[in-house]
Subunit: 365 residues, 4 copies
Amino acid sequence: MLIEEIGETGKKLHTGRSRNEQVVTDEKLYLKTKIPQLIERLKRIQTSVVKLAEDYFDVIMPAYTHLQQGQCVLFSHYIMSLFWPLQRGKERLADLLKRIDKLPLGAGALAGTTLPVDREYLSEQLGFGSITENSMDSVADRSFILETLFVLSIILLDLGRYAEDFIIFSSQEFGYILLANTISTSSSLMPQKRNPDFFELVRASSGELFGNLTQLFVVLKGLPLTYNKDLQEDKVPLHHGVENTLRVLEVFEQVVGKIKLNKKQIENQIDPSLFATDMIDYLVEKGVPFREAHGIVGAIVYHAEREGKRLNELKLEELKKFSYLFDEKVSELFDPVHSVNQKKTTGSTNPEKVKIQIEKAKKLI
Amino acid sequence: MLIEEIGETGKKLHTGRSRNEQVVTDEKLYLKTKIPQLIERLKRIQTSVVKLAEDYFDVIMPAYTHLQQGQCVLFSHYIMSLFWPLQRGKERLADLLKRIDKLPLGAGALAGTTLPVDREYLSEQLGFGSITENSMDSVADRSFILETLFVLSIILLDLGRYAEDFIIFSSQEFGYILLANTISTSSSLMPQKRNPDFFELVRASSGELFGNLTQLFVVLKGLPLTYNKDLQEDKVPLHHGVENTLRVLEVFEQVVGKIKLNKKQIENQIDPSLFATDMIDYLVEKGVPFREAHGIVGAIVYHAEREGKRLNELKLEELKKFSYLFDEKVSELFDPVHSVNQKKTTGSTNPEKVKIQIEKAKKLI
Amino acid sequence: MLIEEIGETGKKLHTGRSRNEQVVTDEKLYLKTKIPQLIERLKRIQTSVVKLAEDYFDVIMPAYTHLQQGQCVLFSHYIMSLFWPLQRGKERLADLLKRIDKLPLGAGALAGTTLPVDREYLSEQLGFGSITENSMDSVADRSFILETLFVLSIILLDLGRYAEDFIIFSSQEFGYILLANTISTSSSLMPQKRNPDFFELVRASSGELFGNLTQLFVVLKGLPLTYNKDLQEDKVPLHHGVENTLRVLEVFEQVVGKIKLNKKQIENQIDPSLFATDMIDYLVEKGVPFREAHGIVGAIVYHAEREGKRLNELKLEELKKFSYLFDEKVSELFDPVHSVNQKKTTGSTNPEKVKIQIEKAKKLI
Amino acid sequence: MLIEEIGETGKKLHTGRSRNEQVVTDEKLYLKTKIPQLIERLKRIQTSVVKLAEDYFDVIMPAYTHLQQGQCVLFSHYIMSLFWPLQRGKERLADLLKRIDKLPLGAGALAGTTLPVDREYLSEQLGFGSITENSMDSVADRSFILETLFVLSIILLDLGRYAEDFIIFSSQEFGYILLANTISTSSSLMPQKRNPDFFELVRASSGELFGNLTQLFVVLKGLPLTYNKDLQEDKVPLHHGVENTLRVLEVFEQVVGKIKLNKKQIENQIDPSLFATDMIDYLVEKGVPFREAHGIVGAIVYHAEREGKRLNELKLEELKKFSYLFDEKVSELFDPVHSVNQKKTTGSTNPEKVKIQIEKAKKLI
């Protein structure tokens, strides 16, 4: 591969070269090509994410902790939460690229070469930023491959968590996402099925990458210096890992862009008990200490449950029994729009803050 | 912990705060304290390494590929090959610190808070560089812990390969390293034993870190957004991983500094066949194409073996049968000093180049 | 520990014993105590499972592939599907116990001992089935610990998949499981929350075990024979792994026994499209080849969807347009009881078959 | 594959079958073919091991703990220590086969089938021992694949430890094993090199298997019941894992059979300090308590070292200063043959016991 890359110079280079230095040079050249492609794919997913955030800016949905409805958020805020792991993925790849950008050629078998090779010049010719500092380290080090596999594992792990969400959101019981034929498959036995296969494959994909990482870690563990034949086992996990990630990123970009929300269903699913924290905030604003307010609202929730009523079905008189501070404005609390507007902090789901977040994100693509 | 850290401000902060945001803030504060300590420990090992390189600058040893003697190198060059993985460890920690340096506080349970908290101000007060951009991502993300455990795994994996070397070098058969009582232990049954326990524990230590990493990766895989109780399982691997690494780095620093070389034994162990590449270089310099020279020397090695002679015991006449280019200067080839001096490239084992390498390293500590 | 176990005999044994043989003997004695406890805990969970299967024998629920409703099953059938992984867990533990049941004592440091110890007699005294065959293998082998950690990993992985189901079933959107206060926790910020913490901890628990397994695997990889200090690193993962599993099994048993189903909600959630396979079976029974029937029903499903009707809302005339074989009996198809009764095979969800399954299970506890 | 296997019956079976049940049936059929092949390969390696043990029955070598010489053993005893891990490998495969030997066919998509299939009869026809008990478990379970990958990982881990030994024994410094051209490779740059590539590849091979295991474990973690597309990701690790193991076992069998020992070198390398435990045994036999004897010999070892003498170079008078119990018979202690003969226990390196061990082993092949 090296020789193809640099033609005649490559052929001359071969004279007296060791496979030890060439193998690692090839791997670095490979990654110097592939990492920019990976970053590009991440950017495209970020673009799809921002588009979704803008397209569905009016949708308010329940957000979850413990897979229980916690608080209302803009769908835009939810989907933008995926933008930042992708951004970290790009940063990790860029950091990694710095470490890859050192040419090992000239290290010989392990001790350096007797030919008066100008390694700095060679490095420039081959597009490297600098040269490795120690010939033995040059042929023995594979930590840049481990780091590659790790960074890709994290990217797929992050995507996998959203894939899990989308699969749950596509169930009949949730019904938030409409699975178009283009992003689902049918069943050999059950013709009614619309299976979120693509999201399932994304969810599964971090397993292969982390398996590749584990493989290479086990191989490297306890190896004496410098080159050992064991190191040959780095090629398959590296190439499989990189190519597979590129493929998964492409699939994810395509299917995420085709997500259609069932707005009506999302609205219907919002459980009024979701607004319990808004009730607490209401009391706190009127001067009730937080812990006390938490206790009061807890008692109200319990009361409603016992009465078989939803939280928004309780009459003002009933609420007043728990605190005289409740007045007719309490009914506003059960409005999702009011709930998200009440949030104040930078980075919160307040629509103004989400707009700022989206603008910031656009600059980073 | 947060409250101890920031006193009265901490207490006020508690009002209406969610455990979700606090837990992750605590973890980031913990790492902002620990990572500089880890970097400091790595620097100390680098200092020990440089000292060894200077103390034993005159020692020439066989260097290995496949655990077979390959070429002669300065011991200084060999031990300096450990400096650069440590340097990469420091760089990876510094890169990681950037990603940790974003305050999540103000994210609330997941949606942001209704209190008009100035997160930028808070971030400054708590010594963070900036704030997280999305409240849901803030409470759901644990990738900085994965990255911590990964970076520490790599550091210990690298140290473990040198530990393996030192264990092999301490065997009676190699005999390169004299195990002083201070860096070895005895046996309950075999009083003659000097066991390299400390190096064995260093060799084993990457297992625990990679186990911690695997644990957290498995825990995170497929988790829906945002916070789930499963995330509580990140604390033990994080704390064990960090504290254990600090301990191993301390042990390694102490024992590596006490390594004593058995110079005489190292010299005796150098196998003359090691100079076969020097013979090739000799012929190449006289105009023989590399592949041809490799063939000639291969034939000579085979001949010597069949005759039961070591390579340096062959007479000039014998050599001349393989190539008329050999002359009396050939005897110089079997001199380790000549061999290392012949290397020309930056980063090679040539003593002048090793000195430059050491100077460069000193500036980085 | 050994000495406590066998008193005076233990003290005498100490004479001239090596730590190498004692450490591994202690680990085997420990597991010979713990494995029966683990099996006992699995049995108790099996008992809870069978009780649930009997208590809710009348409940029919949707069963899922790809988290999409696939076909109707008895809840009893669903929950009994957990019985068999537990049974395999018990079998794996029993198989493992055979391999542990060989006494290593008498192996000395590695070569055997000069004392005329009758190892067979000792083995009998200590409750072992037989003795190890080779003294070097005796002190070097740790594969029984790897196997322990693996078997426990699988058990927790299997439980974790059901924990995932229970978490999903506890969401407001599914609503199948009522989370009693005894098996859920509240939130520091959101008083309405009932979080399925215990099931989340079960879901997470396989991470720790697999992390323990990975740790020991990495430690053992590439270790030369026989004993090395690295082997000391087996104790923490072994003890943590076993004790943690015992704890998780206890938690799981307690919470699974307290599951309450919301029968009405389960019934309501059944999507009529679930009966599409019953429609196919109906046509096949009337002589239509399977592939053709699959095509017809697929077309009907698509038609219903376009018309905005549920499958059971289609009129007979509409159906007849797709196949003249439909008659008034078609309405029976949309009855869950009819659907499960139609299944014929051993091991199916047919109520008679489920009863047989339960009886078989009871004999195995 | 299934259809090829069972011809016409297979075609009929297809009617109305789900891919869910077929995929898992295919995997079980595949393993029912491959596991006996794996066991056969293990047997062949066992045969090679026994042959080596018999061919070199007269060779006594140092055995190691901490890679330090510990005690003398027969080479036969050493190599027989490899027989028993292979035996455990066979046992684990046989145990696993029991769990694979249950036919899932008839489970349908998940609920069973409406066709009156006689699963018991089908099981007999397809060569299975029995049928699975629950249709949902049948299509969801992949633990038999995890167990396969685990068992193969352990086998390769065990072989890898011996490969590590052989690599160390092949170094110039040890020189125990002569690397014939048939089991070593040369270098592109260093013509003198004889690299133990095959043993290095065996040492590395457990990495791939454990990587495969990790991949599938991560994929399965947290998956809801029953079938999910993620499960498709089990095929590559299963097939790669099995085929790769078969290949490694074949390579190992071929190279281990070609090992040639350098008897003279092994004899020369025995360090007299190795006999320190024999000195202790000598004193214990004369009535000195073990701890006291250990102290005396420790002092003697220290004295010899300070005097620059080897243990067998100390005069009787010198020894008597440490204990009056030493007499002229002490010189026998430094005889390797005497040392191994002194061992008494079953499973020890005593030549009579090793012969018994070999006979027992032969019966197990």
